[in-house]
Structures are given as C-alpha cells and as structure tokens.
Symmetry: C2
Subunit: 222 residues, 2 copies
C-alpha cells in the first residue's frame, strides 16, 4: 500500500505514512480493482465501508424513474465516496458508482473509525477530524449547487454561478472548470439555451466570455 500517496489525501492529511500503515489494519482496509463500466456499488444496495479511489476515476450516477442517467459527481484519485452511506448503516444508496476506466478502490470500514482504537492510534482523532472536514466541504458544495439552481431563469443561474466564481477567485476574471455541457448539467439547463443566454449576456455587456475564460463586467454592485 502506497502510504505516501495516502498521506497526501484529504482523509489521511497530517498523518505520517508509518502511522497510516498501522491504521489501515484498524480500518479493515481492502482494495479491489474495477474495469471501465464496472459498478462499484449500485442504487438500492447498502454499504458498510466508504471508498477511496487510489487510481483511475469513477462516476456517481443517478437513474431517474424513466431510466435517464445523470452524472452527479466524478471522483478521482485520493478522493472518497459513499462515506455518507457508510456512516448511516442500512441506508439504501440513491446512486450508483461506476468506474470510468481501470480503477483501484480502497475500502475502509467507518465502524472501526468511530470506535476507540485498541492499538496506539495516536492519529485516530486526526482521521476523524479529516472525515468531518471532508463531509462539511461536500455539504457546502451541495448547498451551493442548490443555490445556483434555485433561480428560475438561465440568466439567474449563470449569474449566481459566475458571481460565486468571481468571489472565489477574488477577481472578476477567471476560468471555470466546466465545459459548456458540464456547466449546463450542473445548472440543470439545456446546453444550447445556455449558450444562447451567454451570448445575450455578452451583448448586454454583463459578461465577456471566451470558452472557459470569463470576465464579469462591473455593471452593478456585485
């Protein structure tokens, strides 16, 4: 196990590699490799362990009642997934996790994370703290998406998203991490309609756009 890699992840941050080694036993660590398209877990199942992607990447998907698949999240190396379900034993998954490519996953029992470590795990508390930090960060990301999609107009959603990006970068000029289709999915709008709206906003002098690069113009008090 590459404990040096693990020590750089959000979950094990601040824990020396040699200590991680001993913790993995406590956490009933187990790895498994998946091929592209293979399911790590499926909607309706229950899980008792959280997952961490060691290499490759996975998608968190949701199928609606008509079978339309939508991608909620992508999880890449070093990131964890299914941690909320692992913290709620018996809770049925609303989503499925599927490998985008050949992907190695580390499974960690949350049960063992909560109970006092029988061995001398001096960094057990650090781990739990990291866990809460990850959970808090993810929660805020979800809240933010809800806010950005609460406006009923495409322009409103774009402005909500773009002005947040501006404050995040501390600058009215910035790049976004999405292409058009991904941004449209994130905001739950049609791509072409969004593209059209971006053009209108540009004509209205609200914003300057070129592919991923945006400039918010000082039309009103941002």
């Amino acid at each position: 196990m590459d404990t040096l890699f693990l020590s750089k992840t959000d979950l094990f941050r601040g824990i020396p590699p040699e200590d991680i080694e001993s913790m993995l036993g406590c956490l009933k660590a187990a790895t498994k490799t998946y091929q592209r398209g293979e399911f790590i877990c499926r909607e309706g199942e229950t899980v008792t362990a959280m997952g961490m992607v060691l290499s490759g990447s996975i998608s968190i998907e949701n199928d609606d009642i008509w079978g339309n698949r939508s991608i909620l999240d992508r999880v890449s190396a070093g990131q964890v997934f299914a941690e909320n379900y692992a913290c709620l034993p018996g809770e049925k998954l609303m989503i499925s996790a599927v490998a985008n490519e050949t992907t190695e996953v580390l499974f960690l029992s949350t049960e063992c994370m909560f109970t006092v470590c029988p061995h001398a795990c001096g960094f057990h508390n650090k781990l739990i703290r990291n866990m809460l930090t990850i959970a808090a960060r993810k929660s805020l990301n979800l809240s933010r998406r809800i806010m950005h999609t609460s406006s009923k107009s495409i322009r409103g959603r774009l402005l909500s998203y773009l002005s947040f990006q501006a404050t995040q970068h501390g600058c009215r000029e910035f790049d976004i991490p999405f292409n058009r289709q991904q941004l449209a999915d994130y905001l739950s709008v049609d791509r072409s309609a969004m593209s059209n709206e971006l053009s209108k906003m540009q004509r209205d002098g609200i914003v300057k756009v070129e592919r991923n690069h945006f400039v918010l113009l000082e039309s009103d008090g941002l």
Copy 2:
C-alpha cells in the same frame, strides 16, 4: 441547562444527562436568546461554533444577488445548524440564520469536539459519531433535493419527489410534510404551475391528490 432535553437530541443521543453536563464545559457551551427577526449569523461572516436550537425555531436564508430572499431550511428545537461552517474555520457563510420567534440557541465549539478531551469524557467518541451521523443525514437530504430538481419539467420533479415518498413510506398512499407553496419552493417551481400540473396528472390517472394526501396509481413499474 436541561441535559435531559439534550440527551434526546440527535447530537447527544446515547449520552446520559450527567455526562452531558461535564461535556458542555469541554465544548465551551454558551447560550443566547434571540427575538423574532433577529439574526443569529449573517452571510459573509465566519463562525467557530455550531448552534443548537434549544427552544423556538430559526430559518436558514439565502439572499441572491438581486436581494430576493429564499428560505433553505427551518431548524427547530433539538436540531443543529452551521455545523459545516464550524468544521471549516474561516469559511464564509453563504447563508444567514434568523430567528422565527423568541429562540434560545446553544453554541458549541467544534474545535474542542475534535481534540482529545482532557477530562474523562467517556462519551466523547459517541458525540463525534453522532456528529458524523447528522452530517451524513443532512448531506443525503441535500443530494436528494438536487435529484428531485434535476428534471427540467414540473411533472418530472413531482414524480421524482412523490415516488421517493412512496418508497420511504413503503406504500403508494401517503401524506407529505409540505403544503403547496412549500413543495413548490422545495422543487424550485411556481406554485400555481405546480398545482396545475398536479391536476393534469390526476386527469391522466397517474396520481390521486387531496391536499397533503397522495396516492400513486399503478400506471407503470414504479
């Protein structure tokens, strides 16, 4: 401090009242009373403590860039709020918390929750576990709302919400905890348009509605 009340909350569940008493010191517990309309915390601020409503209730609000206020959540007695921000020191609040009525709030330092307790807090681990359970539950609620609002049609959103309610109740006949306006807000749609769509769905034989009571009819494989 009413430790008996606290022992019944999600945060202190499983911890005897006498142990809660000693924990409160560790957590730098402090209470404050707010009058209706008074802000507990405001967008843009940072916090270092989480809050628990002891009596009364508060609203979690978000103002968009045009000043339109939208209510994201209501927190009533025994529930916690701002715990995600308290776990991420320095993170600026995207939301504000305001008292709906005369409300007593208990503030708890998360910093002290993470560090090993110098006193004999045998239930410290239980507290942290409860905290993670609460965070996980809230996260799933947020994810669920995102899923229910990801459809682009009102009917799609209603079906997503209603079919989830049906599976939750384990029955196609159930009551929902929202009135029409609240449901419309939750699904981010116009109330009258939603009311209209519900009527159409009833005419189409998909659902039977009477105020808060719903029956999903077996039109297709739910």
